[in-house]
């Protein structure tokens, strides 16, 4: 589904990604681990089209279509979703209003008809229940005054509502206590689907205990240094990233 090949990217003229190649087939969960500064977040921003991240070589496709040529909202409509490491606060826009506007914008871009208000509310109540989110919270301005854990849960809620095909989770485990981590992981696991791919970016192994990735990649020095099975994450937890960081 997602195919990244020889990707080079720079921020402010500084090369961060230096030939990253990666394939995530539909139905699989891939973890990207790596030391701080290896380019993990840069990868997520390049794939979603954030301004200021310049692709200098290589490319990325989604189902064979050039992803990098699309606007961020066009990528979203194609099914790309990034769960932000630091979700933004949107003052004055209630969470439900925001999500409904986003969902309908995506549907419109795909040539589908808009979701009706009753359909939307029914779906929202169901997903909020599954993620143990107080429905009243969804009437408040999105993420304004939410705790770190609440913001992460709100990301997973949006993911569940928007039902994307390629999920990128950027350090979704950071700032979560163990209960919240489990709720978030359950939410993500519930989205596993033969037609959906997931890219889980994390510094620590603990989220992977719950998500059970098919493959683990180590990102160091701007490229994939090594790829392995779930055991690789355990090895990294024991031995750290030193040998990969040095090799890079």
């Amino acid at each position: 589904m997602l195919s990244v090949s020889n990707l080079h990217a720079a921020v402010d003229g500084k090369a961060i990604l230096k030939g990253l190649t990666l394939d995530v087939p539909a139905g699989e969960v891939h973890a990207i681990m790596g030391p701080n500064g290896a380019g993990k977040s840069t990868l997520s921003y390049v794939l979603t089209g954030r301004h200021g991240y310049e692709v200098t070589d290589g490319g990325a496709t989604l189902d064979g279509e050039d992803l990098l040529a699309l606007e961020p909202n066009e990528r979203a409509a194609k099914g790309v979703f990034l769960s932000f490491q630091y979700p933004l606060e949107i003052p004055g826009v209630p969470a439900l209003t925001f999500i409904r506007t986003a969902l309908n914008a995506q549907r419109k871009a795909r040539g589908e008809k808009e979701i009706t208000a009753p359909e939307f509310l029914k779906l929202a109540r169901q997903k909020a229940g599954e993620l143990k989110i107080d429905f009243e919270m969804l009437k408040r301005a999105l993420n304004v005054g939410f705790s770190g854990g609440e913001k992460k849960r709100m990301e997973i809620f949006q993911m569940a509502m928007l039902a994307p095909r390629l999920l990128i989770l950027d350090e979704t485990d950071s700032g979560l206590d163990i209960d919240a981590l489990k709720i978030v992981a359950d939410g993500v696991n519930a989205m596993r689907d033969p037609d959906r791919a997931m890219l889980v970016i994390t510094h620590y192994q603990r989220l992977l205990d719950y998500l059970k990735p098919d493959k683990v990649h180590v990102l160091a020095g701007g490229r994939i240094a090594v790829t392995g099975g779930p055991d690789l994450a355990l090895e990294l937890e024991r031995e750290g990233y030193d040998k990969y960081a040095r090799a890079a």
Partner: protein, 346 residues
């Protein structure tokens, strides 16, 4: 030095100019070398204004002349009503001024839906309102200033409050060639409360100046002020807010906030928030921010699928929505919402 005195005497030299400290950002003398002739009487019928048919009574002032009677603006003790007050300019290249009194007796309650409607270009208009609230009276004033392209317009209001009176104001303007809306409040403290809000949404070469002055003269008064502005094109927004807490006006609670978004390189916002405090035991705060839209928030919204124009509109509407939400009279809140949406998505 005021537009009203200049119009009365026909002497453009009496116009306020940038040499007057309080008018330095809204120069009239430099703009009007010659004053246009007095506006002729107009018999033309009025079509629906910004507030449509809300409220029970309409008071119209056309080309500076009262149509019908203004007794609806004098409320006896305990009376309660909703009144539309419309200042309409129907003749181009002419000038007029008007003075009007609004009086609320003890415990009276008025919702004033006030509009400035420019149906012609190039006019110069001055309106002076004298508002008094007796003890326990309540006035909510919602103003839509829709002066036309090319208009020069000044509206100034003096408000005198009795004890426990409540005065709440929301100004909504998209500016004019040059426009100033000025509000002075003599605040007695004594349990009286003031809310002074405003929204300016400017584009093209429009200019809007929201100037307020509140003087707290006694103990136990509150003032809560929130003004938000969005400027585009080559427009210019001016906010001058002054709150004075006189000696002895203890336990005053006064808050002033002004936030502006500048959405183009050639637009400008000038702000001068002032708190002058001569009492000891007060709670006063002011905040003033002028900036651009949050690019990170925009990216976040686009990542969720919102096209850029829609993401911008949603952020800006939410920004000014925080003022509009404070309008208590619900039908006017709807008018204000539609007013903002229309201007932001145009």
């Amino acid at each position: 030095m005021s537009l009203a005195t200049a119009l009365k005497s026909g002497d453009a030299g009496l116009l306020p100019s940038k040499r007057d400290e309080d008018w330095k950002w809204t120069d009239l003398r430099g703009l009007l070398r010659v004053l246009p002739p007095p506006s002729p009487p107009s018999e033309a019928a009025l079509t629906a204004g910004p507030f449509g048919d809300l409220g029970e009574i309409e008071v119209g002032i056309v080309n500076g002349r009262l149509r019908g009677d203004a007794s609806a603006l004098i409320l006896k003790p305990g009376e309660k009503r909703v009144v539309r007050l419309r200042f309409v300019a129907q003749s181009a290249d002419s000038s007029h001024s008007v003075q009007l009194a609004i009086q609320l007796g003890k415990g009276a309650d008025l919702t004033l839906l006030e509009s400035y409607e420019g149906l012609a270009g190039g006019y110069v208009a001055d309106a002076a309102l004298d508002i008094s609230l007796a003890k326990g009276a309540a006035l909510e004033r919602i103003v839509v200033a829709a002066d036309g392209e090319g208009a020069v317009s000044v509206s100034s209001t003096q408000v005198a409050l009795g004890p426990e009176a409540r005065f709440a104001q929301t100004l909504l303007t998209d500016g004019a060639k040059r426009q100033r809306i000025e509000t002075h409040v003599a605040h007695p403290g004594a349990g009286a409360s003031v809310r002074l809000d405003g929204v300016y949404l400017l584009s093209g070469q429009h200019h809007a100046d929201l100037t307020t002055m509140v003087e707290h003269g006694g103990v136990d008064g509150t003032t809560d002020q929130l003004t938000k502005g969005v400027v585009r094109g080559q427009s210019r927004g001016v906010f001058q807010g002054r709150i004075v807490v006189e000696e002895g006006a203890d336990r005053t609670d006064a808050r002033m906030r002004h936030n502006a978004l500048i959405l183009s390189d050639r637009a400008e916002v000038d702000a001068k928030p002032e708190l002058l405090i001569f009492a000891d035991d007060v709670q006063c705060a002011h905040g003033n921010t002028i900036g651009a839209l949050d690019e990170e928030a925009l990216f976040y919204m686009r990542q969720r699928g919102l096209p850029e124009t829609e993401a911008r509109a949603l952020l800006i509407e939410a920004f000014v929505g925080q003022v509009i939400e404070r309008i208590a009279y619900e039908p006017a809140r709807e008018v204000a919402r539609a007013w903002a949406a229309h201007r932001l998505r145009a």
